[in-house]
Subunit: 319 residues, 2 copies
């Protein structure tokens, strides 16, 4: 869903945008002026075609989510890191000016010794997902050193907002809104006291664009709200903003992949670029609820919107 | 050559040892009581057979050297990290008590902000080799967390000593001794002022055994001499100990993969275990020269000793 938002924003700004993803059919929510190329990330020739002639590449592809990645870390590595190294080779060959990578502020650090977490913290991921993201960061630095390929890493916290369907096992905000609208039960892993940093998708898109045009010395920046909310607080707030009565909820045992608290220190990106998170939490929730209502998921809970949109695109910008 | 020394030492100590490597024929320098299994690291079934029934696994396999790894980082990743994740799965399945991994103190840190480098330093490798080693460290921590597999990481500096042939593009000490004995020219990358930490192989074997039986809280330890020598100093000292006249040398441009200085802070392993590096530099050189002379490389420069021994084995100990 970050991909859709990023492509549409770039397109609205006048850029010539190509999106690459594994969906066979073009996502309906993608603006018609965005070129769509369908392909698998492990097929070098397809993405070579997508990268050709592009000035900037935004790499948002991730084939797994943290919890799944621990079931088969080797598969996660093969599906995400290996093709990324091939992608970087293609970017060098095609003369791409810069690669902006969506890394994971929620997983690369592992269990933080302090919050909010600065970029200089140690990186001890507790999921295959986090190890893959971290390895990709290291390869970006290597390709920069060896071949001069410019790059920027955005370590993003938990994104929420429009185009997040809430019908996959990802995205607490969207899942909760969806279930609340459908009057379904919400299940919480653990006691709900786990703390997370939630950032509105438009703010993330803006951050990635700032980083794309940033020329300072820092290559790795946290992108989040900088504030932490417990899972329980998130659900309470959705209840409040939605104003349709109590959300039916229960708790189940926590997952080993969950770190107890994660809030990102965003002072680096704030001081180095003009970026600030500008969409306030309740306002972000309100917009997410509005989008979900407009997507009419109550009438069509299994068909509304596009499936497989989440974190799939490599939008490329030709400006 | 670490593998040969480790296997023979374990065997001498009464352990039942199985060695696994890609050589088709059994290394002649391997003690006859050490069981030899030949296989490729990307063939899970072969190493599954090697791991079965083992109490401890020493993972020393590396299919590349730092400089080569940058020519094709994806191949390095596929050949080293992917099979290691499979190996860890096999170790869990077979009930292995502990995996001891030979990581690289010379490459995982990248360009250090200070020397000697403590384990807590940031890890920003400048070679695919270093990224692969670092990723393996992270997977070891992950498997420990997810499946309780015990592990220990030894970040080893530059090993030298017997069984290092000096006929491959690795091992400054062995290469220099070999060339000096053959009255061949020695080529130095850069101005020779690059600083490295050299550690005698017997000290490394002893360190790996200490780490194998260590039960304290630290999982990652530097293993080196703790002191730095310039490349020029190494060659001067070999000249001195060998005492066969001046070594003919010249300089060629430095490699991008070389960090300017690398000396490991070994205070952690010294305080946590009983280990100390005990073989003094000149004594280590004397023994290395003696071994090289006994291997009769002057008479048979292309056949003496075993080829492909370097860093190939996964010796396994059944105690």
């Amino acid at each position: 869903m970050l991909g859709i938002n990023l492509c549409n924003t770039l397109n609205a700004g006048g850029a010539e945008v190509t999106a690459f993803g594994r969906r066979l059919s073009r996502p309906t929510s993608l603006h018609q002026d965005v070129k769509w190329i369908s392909g698998h990330f492990d097929d070098v020739r397809t993405f070579e075609h997508a990268v050709r002639g592009q000035e900037f590449v935004f790499h948002l592809i991730s084939t797994t989510i943290p919890d799944d990645s621990n079931r088969d870390p080797a598969a996660d590595l093969a599906a995400n890191v290996l093709p990324t190294v091939r992608l970087l080779e293609v970017c060098c060959k095609e003369g791409v000016k810069k690669v902006v990578f969506s890394s994971s502020g929620g997983t690369v650090y592992g269990i933080p010794s302090r919050v909010p977490i600065p970029e200089s913290s140690s990186t001890e991921p507790i999921s295959g997902y986090g190890i893959s993201k971290l390895a990709i960061e290291k390869y970006l630095a290597l390709f920069h050193r060896l071949h001069g390929l410019e790059y920027h890493v955005c370590r993003i916290s938990n994104i929420y907002g429009p185009f997040q369907q809430g019908n996959r096992r990802q995205g607490l905000v969207a899942t909760t809104i969806r279930r609340a609208l459908l009057k379904e039960h919400v299940e919480i892993w653990g006691d709900g006291q786990v703390i997370r940093d939630f950032v509105y998708v438009d703010d993330v898109v803006a951050a990635m664009l700032c980083c794309c045009f940033y020329h300072g010395p820092y290559k790795v920046m946290n992108v989040g709200s900088g504030t932490g909310l417990t899972i329980n607080q998130v659900i309470d707030d959705i209840e409040l903003v939605l104003n349709e009565g109590a959300i039916d909820r229960s708790h189940r045992p926590g997952r080993t992949v969950d770190v107890p608290r994660n809030t990102l220190d965003i002072s680096l990106i704030q001081s180095e670029t003009s970026w600030q998170p500008i969409v306030a939490w309740h306002e972000g929730l309100r917009r997410s609820i509005e989008w979900m209502k407009a997507a009419n998921i109550v009438a069509n809970p299994y068909t509304a919107g596009d499936r497989h949109e989440q974190s799939r695109g490599v939008p490329q910008l030709k400006s």
